[in-house]
């Protein structure tokens, strides 16, 4: 089945509106609240954006069915950022200036989020996405920016937690490609590993596009590690793991799933890839919010980002509901931590949360993608991770590490 982007945008916009209509009638004079989505429907993120947008539409459908924000329905406006900063900025301008949105939800690429960020801060529009670069939440954004993708520090600590859970991994080496996050990820990882009682035998940053990594491998293997933590992308990981295999390394290897993927297995061959561990950001599989998400968004369980998009929209709506009638981006950023972080009654959906808020109670939203607790700069404090291992030429899920 093929649906063009334009049709998809039209259809999902219409669906959102149609579903909003009954609530709109019920609310009578109450004007809808405009919220924009800015997902990548085309470009490099084109395989992720549509699922994210569907998740947001499904949440809005539930919010409006539950009576909206103090009787006011939410009206969605969909734009495609084309996974391009330039297209993203144009789309954000339209959402802010024409549609008068109070929030833009579910941006994907870091480049887009970083480009759209100043517009949102200036117009006091709340921005929440899944972008991973540390810069997304750094600098002065006056609280208008948040994200549900863990930063490199949180990621480093989660990888370390898994590494420390394996008692046979006493001596651990870190080898990473020279990237903007190699250093910060490495510091968090090695620090947490050491705190858990293991030894960091070597920590080495290597250069991209080298014909071989024999001497890097020689140096690291000279320190006798039980586990090598690889931090790179697929092409360099292929060369590195081949060289480790040639050098008769028999210990364990752990890397990020975006590098240790099907392309990697094809590149080194199933024999060399056998047993390589890898980790990725996971949803909160046991959460009632995740179960509701899976039921509402068919196929959404295959997307690492759609559960986060589900939480984006829910958080925005809960923050608005906590705003006592005032509706603006400023209310969302001021109330975000009040509805997302402990203390408070744990809630798993907008309907549940709105009920508690109406009774004047403090709430703590636990989402489909994780606990959704935010720090001062808008980063989440924790996220679940999935652990996979290559077995017979395929990545298989081994366990889930919950924070």
């Amino acid at each position: 089945m093929t649906i063009s982007r334009r049709d998809f945008v039209k259809a999902s916009g219409a669906a959102g509106f149609a579903l909003a209509a009954p609530a709109l009638l019920a609310a009578q004079s109450k004007e809808p609240i405009a919220v924009g989505t800015l997902c990548p429907l085309t470009g490099a993120g084109g395989s992720y954006g549509p699922d994210m947008q569907r998740a947001v539409v499904a949440v809005v459908e539930r919010i409006n069915r539950a009576g909206g924000i103090q009787g006011r329905p939410i009206q969605l406006f969909h734009e495609d950022d084309q996974t391009s900063a330039e297209a993203g900025v144009r789309a954000a301008r339209k959402l802010i200036d024409v549609n008068k949105v109070v929030a833009i939800v579910s941006t994907w690429a870091s480049a887009v989020t970083l480009a759209v960020r100043p517009l949102c801060v200036e117009a006091r529009v709340f921005l929440i996405g899944v972008s991973g670069a540390d810069a997304v939440t750094q600098g002065d954004h006056r609280g208008y920016v948040a994200r549900t993708q863990p930063n490199t520090n949180t990621q480093g600590r989660m990888y370390a937690r898994f590494a420390a859970s394996k008692k046979e991994w006493k001596r651990i080496a870190y080898m990473a490609l020279q990237t903007p996050y190699a250093q910060s990820f490495g510091e968090a990882f090695t620090g947490a590993v050491k705190a858990a009682g293991a030894t960091i035998t070597d920590s080495l940053i290597y250069e991209d596009k080298k014909p071989s990594y024999r001497s890097e491998v020689t140096r690291v293997l000279g320190t006798n590690p039980d586990l090598i933590m690889l931090g790179g992308y697929t092409p360099d990981s292929v060369v590195m793991v081949k060289d480790l295999y040639r050098a008769a390394y028999k210990g364990a290897i752990l890397g990020p799933s975006f590098a240790i993927n099907a392309k990697f297995i094809e590149g080194v061959g199933p024999d060399v890839a056998e047993g390589v561990w890898n980790m990725d950001r996971a949803p909160l599989f046991d959460s009632p919010a995740y179960k509701e998400f899976v039921a509402a968004v068919p196929g959404g369980d295959q997307s690492p980002y759609a559960p986060q998009a589900w939480d984006h929209m829910t958080l925005v709506a809960l923050a608005l509901a906590a705003g006592k009638g005032e509706v603006s981006g400023t209310v969302i950023k001021d109330q975000l931590r009040a509805v997302a972080n402990p203390p408070g009654a744990v809630v798993y959906s907008f309907a549940d949360g709105a009920k508690h808020l109406a009774e004047g109670k403090k709430i703590n939203y636990e989402g489909a993608s994780g606990a959704c607790d935010f720090d001062q700069i808008g980063d989440i404090l924790s996220a679940p991770f999935i652990v996979q291992q290559v077995r017979k030429g395929k990545n298989e899920r081994v366990t889930v590490i919950n924070p």
């Binding site: 020279q178 250069e207 071989s212 020689t218 092409p235 040639r246 590149g267 061959g269």
Partner: protein, 286 residues
């Protein structure tokens, strides 16, 4: 810490791969008097030609290697006919720029046909053998042996055959050689074919040792350039020794400086040679 000999051995293998394009680069410079930067892209062409034969047509890697050598030699000759021959006699600078242009075109043809993703040959990765405390890979040993054999072959050709002698005569003084009846264009064609063959063969080795991507040739150009300059421009054996030294210094250097500075080592060698001995190791005359 492992013995330094392991690093030296690693460097010798890297040097063996670098030596082939370094010799090709050096000989073209001597004969046509311009630095042909397209030589690095011939590595890419060779690697992909072998990929097409090995993965596409299921040929053995040995056969694919021979095919890659032929394809790259012919490509080099075609490039010479289309791009460089019309510019013979121009300033070396113009030709050097033209060669960079050729490199871009070839690289993008490869991208267009095979895409940007990296590829690998259909050969299993093997564990290294342990010989006298040294880890020696089978592929690495084979690569080095073939590189040595090719070097010896090239040197014998230059010293023993009529065409080789004609080549050296043309390199020394093209005008005088032409007057004496040396068919200059045939000599250039032979040298171009030979250079392309060496670089194409090296490209397959590089792809076998690491992986194949459209930028693979460009990633070694600094090291190749450094090897040719260190050896003394125009000297085959000089370029070979130069490549071994560059390979060894790059690998042993990782003991002293962080591995992220590997490429910088090539630059430092170029700078040092130009300052201390501009003619290089073998370059008595210029």
């Amino acid at each position: 810490m492992p013995a330094i000999t392991q690093y030296v051995f690693n460097g010798v293998v890297t040097g063996g791969i670098l030596a082939l394009p370094a010799v090709a680069f050096s000989l073209t410079w001597r004969l046509l008097r311009f630095p042909n930067f397209a030589v690095s892209t011939y590595l890419t062409v060779g690697a992909y030609a072998a990929l097409a034969l090995n993965v596409g047509l299921r040929a053995s890697l040995e056969l694919a290697w021979v095919g890659a050598v032929v394809v790259t030699a012919v490509t080099a000759l075609a490039v010479d006919r289309i791009a460089f021959r019309p510019m013979r006699g121009r300033r070396p600078f113009s030709l050097a720029i033209a060669s960079i242009g050729v490199a871009f075109v070839l690289e993008n043809v490869v991208r267009f046909v095979w895409g940007n993703d990296f590829r690998s040959y259909d050969v299993p990765v093997t564990r290294a053998m342990l010989i006298a405390g040294l880890r020696v890979g089978r592929e690495q040993l084979l690569i080095f042996a073939v590189a040595i054999a090719l070097m010896a072959l090239a040197q014998t050709f230059l010293v023993r055959t009529r065409l080789g002698i004609a080549m050296r005569a043309t390199a020394d003084n093209a005008g005088l050689a032409a007057v004496k009846g040396v068919p200059t264009e045939r000599v250039v064609a032979a040298a171009t074919l030979g250079g392309g063959a060496l670089a194409g063969g090296a490209g397959v080795f590089l792809g076998l040792d690491a992986s194949i991507d459209p930028l693979m040739g460009g990633s070694v150009i600094i090291s190749v350039f450094a090897a040719a300059i260190l050896g003394g421009i125009g000297s085959g054996p000089g370029a070979f020794v130069g490549a071994l030294i560059v390979g060894i210094v790059e690998e042993v250097g990782t003991l002293v400086v962080p591995p992220t500075y590997k490429t910088a080592i090539g630059f430092v060698i170029i700078l040092a040679v130009l300052l201390v001995r501009p003619t290089g190791l073998a370059g008595a005359r210029s």
